[in-house]
Structure formats: structure tokens, C-alpha cells
Symmetry: C2
Subunit: 210 residues, 2 copies
Amino acid sequence: MRRSRSDAAETRERIVSTASKMFMTKGLEAVGMRDIMSAAGLTPGGFYRHFESKEQLIAEANRGAFDRLLAMFETQTRAMSPGEALDKIVSLYLNQSQGEGNTFLCPLSMVGTELGHCEPQVRAVAADGYQRLVQLVADRVSELGRDLGRDAALTTASGVVSTMTGAVMLANIAGDKAAAKSILSNAHAAIKALLAPVGGVAKAGRRTKS
Amino acid sequence: MRRSRSDAAETRERIVSTASKMFMTKGLEAVGMRDIMSAAGLTPGGFYRHFESKEQLIAEANRGAFDRLLAMFETQTRAMSPGEALDKIVSLYLNQSQGEGNTFLCPLSMVGTELGHCEPQVRAVAADGYQRLVQLVADRVSELGRDLGRDAALTTASGVVSTMTGAVMLANIAGDKAAAKSILSNAHAAIKALLAPVGGVAKAGRRTKS
DNA sequence: TGTACATCAGTGAACGCGCGTTCACTGATGTAC
DNA sequence: TGTACATCAGTGAACGCGCGTTCACTGATGTAC
């Protein structure tokens, strides 16, 4: 039975956001079309009124996940000093999959190695998400260390993002909760050490503009 | 036609090592039993004379990959100073998937997020591999900074491993070779910065035992 | 505004396919005497 | 050492299943007059 245009648009969004959560928590290949559609309260056939293929849904679901994650970082750190903002972003990122209601999950750390084997369309979304995440961090790093060049800020930010994504991925593999916590707190310490010379939040050595 | 026991043992090893390479480069779910068996010069049915299931093969293939990787690190850094050894290990790890003949690939960075969704048996192998990798790095860090406690060395090593695994995973997602190289060299710089205060190889600040 | 018709969101059964796995079979290897 | 037999590594067709996708269909929505 046909639905109104706004109903249809709502359905489409519901499919994408439902799929996004399922893909992040269970993996791209492990989640089937029937799983997604029934979780969205629909039957399988309806999917193809909205999307061309599962591949396209994966691309949109990941883009959506990046959008939500980055927007959340922006709002959560609004009006914070760059040092505080960086620490908050790192904390939020590292703990993304620790609690129960994990509404903001990053594709890079949750399904990163699967993305590496996807079609160019999907990989482009992932590569773009990575760039946006690095830029978000680099902006704060730039503010923190005003004497730093643009390149130095991007280099530092890239290192921070590698550490964060790696740590969350490893924490998801770790058997027990304690091992996961340990990986994450070690990564947090490493990132603080990385940011310290810029003038950061760490206890250790500080170096500011002149 | 039955083969001798040594032939059979050889066959078993060939299946594991063939599977290991294929799993690392294409992903665990993307590689089918027929692919593996035909790459090993066999037909599908023979598989079950050696293994109980694909799951068991995944576990063994990953254990083998860790064994080879860690043994390679040991031999490649034998008789090096701890600082040189660390730098060599980091270089080798970061460039594992850059060349053509990638014979030493780490499951954590190649199929890490897929491992997170596997059965406990497989996750245990991955978690153990992670611990061994951290220990290998921590040993060198300990040698480098003799005044460092055991815990501090492990913490630093854990940070280094998070950064390495994240960087290689991200480099595998990156569209072009240049972006990949950039991610890897930024990660290398971050790790040097992390190791510098221990008394490491970086140009920046050095701090040794009194 | 009311009516007639085209559109199309959503249904749910069905399609083809490739997956992991099983199985009857072959014949060289290993074993018992 | 030679012979008879059991074992089992490897074959390749087949099984059942779940996947992504297609399709005829339904009926409310949108459109034309």
C-alpha cells in the first residue's frame, strides 16, 4: 500500500539509521537484508524502492554514522578550550563501544578492516570520514599550539586518529572488559603524551608560543 | 587416494599457510573453502580430513600469522640495540601491506574488526597475538629505559601497538597510495614522539637513567 | 471541489546462486601375521 | 620379506540453507481535468 512522500522519506531514513547501528555492531557482511528490513518494521522487498543495492546502503549508513559522530563531537565540545575539547573528543571516541546504548559508533574502528575490502564507492565514504575526523582534531591542535604550522597540526592529528581507531578496534577484540579498559587507557595516555609538547592537557612538559 | 603421513602433514600445513595469506588479504568472510582448497591444489571435500570447520582453520591461520610475524621481528632485530630494534619493528609493521610480496601480515591490522565478531576460540587467538606483540615491544622499551617500571613499559608498548594497528588499517582503507604513505609516516612520527622520552631514537628530547 | 486514473511504497513469495559441509567412493599407505 | 586386509588422504558430486535481489500484486496517494 502506497505511503505519502513524507512517510516514504521517513522510512528511508529509518532504514539507513537502523542499518547503520546494525552494521557497526555486527559487521557489514554479517547483517542481512531481511535482518535490517525486519528491524525497521518492513518486509524485504520494500528495500529496493529506496536503494539500488546493499552496497549503496552500506555507503549511506557509513556516511550517516560519520555525520552523527562528528556532529556529536562538535556539540559536546562547543565553548570548550581547545585542550579540553581534545581531551573530551578522545574520551568520547575511546569509550564509544564500552557502554550499552552506543549511539555514536565510528565505522573506522568498528568495521574498518571490512571497509578496506569494499567497492570504491564505500571506501571513498570511509576515506572521507577519516579526513573529516583528522581535520576536526587538527583544528583543535592548531588552536592549542598557535606556533604550529598547518602541516604539523595535521601530522599530529593523524597520529592521534591512528591511535584512537587502533585502540577501539583492539578493545573490541579483547576478551574481557578489563583488558579492553586497559588498552583504551593506555591509548589515552599515549595521546596525551603526543599532545603534551603542543601545549596540551597532559601533566608532562608544556611548550607555548614564545 | 591415500597419501603418506608426512604428505598429509605437509598438506595440512599448506592449507593453513595458503588460507592465512588469503584471509589476510581478502578478509575472513570473503574467502570461501573452495577458494582456499583450490589455491592449495586440492578439492573441497579433502578439507574435513584435516579440520573440523572453517572456524578452526581461521583460528589456526591467525595463530600461524602471528607466529611468523613475531619470529620475523625477532630475527630481523637480532643483535640490534633496543632503540634500533624498536624503530625496525615499527617500520616493518607499518609497511607490511605496502609492497607486493607481503608475506608477513598482522591479523590485527588486516582483519581486526572481523576478528571482533568471531567466536571466542578465534578471538582468544587474536587477543593472545595482541599480548605477544605488546610484550615484544615492551621488552625493547624496558631495555631502552632501564629506569622505567614494568608497567610503564607495557603501557607505552600498548600505545605503540594501538597506533601501529590503527595506522595500517587506515592505510588499507585509503584510496590512493600517497594517502596511505602519509598515514603511515604520521603514525611513525607519533610513535617516535612516544618513545622519545624513554630515551629513544627520535630527534626530540632525550631522557636517560640519571 | 469532485471524480477518474496513474503512480508507486510496501508486501511476501520466489529465484538463482554460492556458501559450509557431507558422503560414497578410490586407491595408495600402513599394519598384522 | 611377502601377503592380506584395514585405514584413511583426497575426490568431486550433492545437500540444505541463507543470501541479495526480483516480481506480480495491493491499495493509498498524488495528479489531471
